[in-house]
Symmetry: C2
Subunit: 244 residues, 2 copies
């Protein structure tokens, strides 16, 4: 039996919306989710604004099996993700004892003052579980189905590596990519007919344009290997007919 598991993502940060930082976490999460058979169905990029974060969290945690966030968990005043996620769940945002102790020891060893700002990095909703951060120690956290992670790509990726084994895997979506030398206008009609005839598949058509030439990448996806093979054959037969 195939089983669909869905995910969504919330990217938190004015710096992405202003263009000054270009996001690199969306594509990475998308790749990983596809690889383990979970459908990423929606991504939102929101500002460092409590109301915006709360709305996105509460909409998406009800709508998808898993929610992943990136950004806003550092020690400065504009890092409001922990407070906002707590508010979304109606939980107090507290200094987590385990995180505080871990950070205190970490800074003591390096003879760095454990400032109030640094203590902010131990804040999370009551009852949250840590997501380990092997890069710079300060943990992310999971509360119910929401995984709160850092925005710095190296840390985001390391945290996600720690989260993946805890997720229930979906039935992996198989896919095959077919190079199509024709533009979409040529194949659009017959491809639509093939999609109708193969409802257990998802057939995508992606126009490419490079150096003045158009071509098309066709991708057939399915959770059923036989259905995938049948649709792929139909697409290849259609292309052979056009080439002939």
């Amino acid at each position: 039996m195939s089983q669909t598991v869905t995910a969504s993502m919330i990217v938190i940060g004015d710096e992405i919306l202003s263009g000054r930082t270009k996001d690199r976490n969306i594509g990475h999460l998308a790749d990983i989710m596809t690889a383990i058979g979970i459908d990423l169905v929606e991504v939102r990029i929101v500002a460092d604004d409590e109301a915006a974060i709360v709305e996105a969290i509460n909409t998406l945690r009800a709508r998808t099996d898993y929610v992943f966030t990136s950004g806003g968990i550092g020690p400065t005043h504009d890092d409001i993700t922990a407070d906002s996620v707590s508010k979304a769940f109606g939980l107090p945002c507290v200094h987590d004892a385990k995180a505080l102790a871990m950070l205190e020891q970490h800074y003591a060893k390096r003879e760095i003052e454990f400032t109030e700002a640094r203590k902010r990095m131990a804040r999370m909703p009551v009852g949250a579980e840590h997501i380990d951060n092997p890069v710079s120690l300060a943990p992310g956290f999971r509360i119910e189905n929401v995984h709160v992670m850092a925005g710095v790509p190296a840390i985001f990726q390391a945290m996600l590596d720690n989260v993946v084994p805890t997720l229930k895997a979906g039935t992996k979506l198989m896919s095959t990519s077919i190079h199509c030398p024709f533009g979409e206008g040529t194949i659009g009609g017959p491809l639509g007919e093939i999609q109708k005839a193969h409802p257990d598949t998802i057939i995508g058509s992606y126009p490419k344009y490079q150096d003045g030439t158009f071509w098309t990448e066709l991708v057939v996806r399915s959770r059923d290997a036989d259905a995938l093979a049948r649709a792929e054959e139909a697409v290849r037969k259609m292309l052979a007919g056009l080439a002939g």
Copy 2:
């Protein structure tokens, strides 16, 4: 008097959510909006799914001055943006006469059959205005405050160039970037105090991590040059105090 003009973006396409295509339009739109003084306040990436597109269009067109979409306006069956936007506005989606005539002439000149699939590229809500496409002719369109553009980056960028002069410019947000050799834990406390003392500015703190070293980029933004200068001075004084 300063005036805030807001924008939002909807990226439409399964290929972005699956990770197979990495989006390049969000960062470009963000850069352009910042350059002309419009605040990009939210971005959503949604699937090729009518209900998802309609929801995103209707939420964001009510919430922001301008909405920009990318993707889903080609000739294949999975290109459902024109239909979905029409549905969001409660308007019929029709073959636009001007677009049809333009495309017909274009294909006739090149002795290419004007297929039903190609005719799909002339579809838009009744009353929409064209957004010219100098790359591959098939136009985008504007209906009220929603600008519907292609997903292929070269075409998205060319269409956006044609849209920018039609937008009412906001009061441009000025910004200054200050290199901070300290990590966020060191400056988080005093920076929060500076933000409180300079409410007409937005002070952002962006942790950087490269080759094992942490540093921080501080960005002060304001629509008021004097307020910006005062906040910048306060930040520089704080950093000089820490360095001393």
